[in-house]
Subunit: 181 residues, 2 copies
């Protein structure tokens, strides 16, 4: 069950550096791509990611100026890699991987209901020189009931690192934390 | 003991999304800042990170057009957070945190010898509109003998996630891996 997730905390889903799924919808065709190069760029919240014409979703992203960033948990690791290994040109990835497309509130790109979190985004800018797409998050959702909540990180050579233990240094950092987190 | 680390694998140090230390040298003054918003932008290898005038190091970075990205391991977590909590305006951070500045080969910014890896970089571009600095890595080093090799990731609210177990899906991904990794 997805619940509202506050926009001022969206950067906390991206800052740890998890692998992300990005959905787009162009006309009646929806697609998903796997992205492992991303970062927050401010608390507004804006998020930068790296993509380009080598990804089939890129055209839809540029045309519709909308997408959803879905955050998969560790139990979706093989699904996430599989999504990255085939192309939306000839594959309905929702069908192929048994994923459920949910209706987003502010964009036409679909949510992925199996994911830990979903972030509805509009394209704010495209820095063509570097292939950097800057997104603005307009609505976010979290699955509060999901058991597996660990994200995972790509190394780049086929290995993936699952989140390990969490260390809380909040007291040390209190003076520099953005308000409300 | 630091050894050469191949440039074509540098993106693998950044892609997982670890917290980074960034050193600069301006004249005789060296400094360190903590950065947790970064991503690779290509395999050349270029790396984007988020910073701005709120960081004392930013001026030196823009002036010298050089820095070193040092990758701390989990045993340096408190040191890394401490570095982020004070300013180079009034603190010699190498001295305060007992870190050793090593001589880099291609830039004047220092290596941090206690770190797992060090990446010597030149500033390739500054996308002022988004505060994104694009770096080009020109030389990299790894400490092959260091025992603690787990990186750590910032959540953004004072919590940090240490690398957990590694899953190898190389066989699944073989067709899409860049050559040589």
């Amino acid at each position: 069950m997805l619940k509202d997730y506050p926009l001022n905390k969206v950067f906390m889903l991206i800052e740890p550096g998890p692998v992300l799924l990005v959905t787009t919808a162009s006309g009646r065709k929806k697609n998903i791509m796997t992205i492992s190069w991303s970062m927050p760029t401010d608390f507004s919240p804006n998020i930068a990611l790296l993509t380009g014409s080598w990804n089939h979703s890129f055209e839809a992203l540029m045309k519709t100026r909308e997408c959803v960033l879905a955050v998969p948990a560790a139990d979706l690791m093989k699904t996430t890699v599989g999504i990255g290994m085939c192309s939306g040109t000839d594959t309905d990835k929702f069908q192929k991987f048994g994923l459920t497309a949910g209706k987003a509130q502010k964009v036409r790109a679909p949510l992925i209901l199996e994911c830990l979190a979903n972030i509805e985004c509009r394209v704010e800018d495209y820095v063509e020189k570097h292939g950097i797409v800057v997104l603005n998050a307009v609505k976010a959702w979290i699955d509060d009931e999901r058991k597996e909540r660990r994200m995972f990180h790509a190394v780049g050579d086929g290995r993936f690192i699952v989140d390990g233990r969490t260390v809380n240094l909040r007291k040390m950092m209190e003076a520099k934390l953005p308000s409300g987190v």
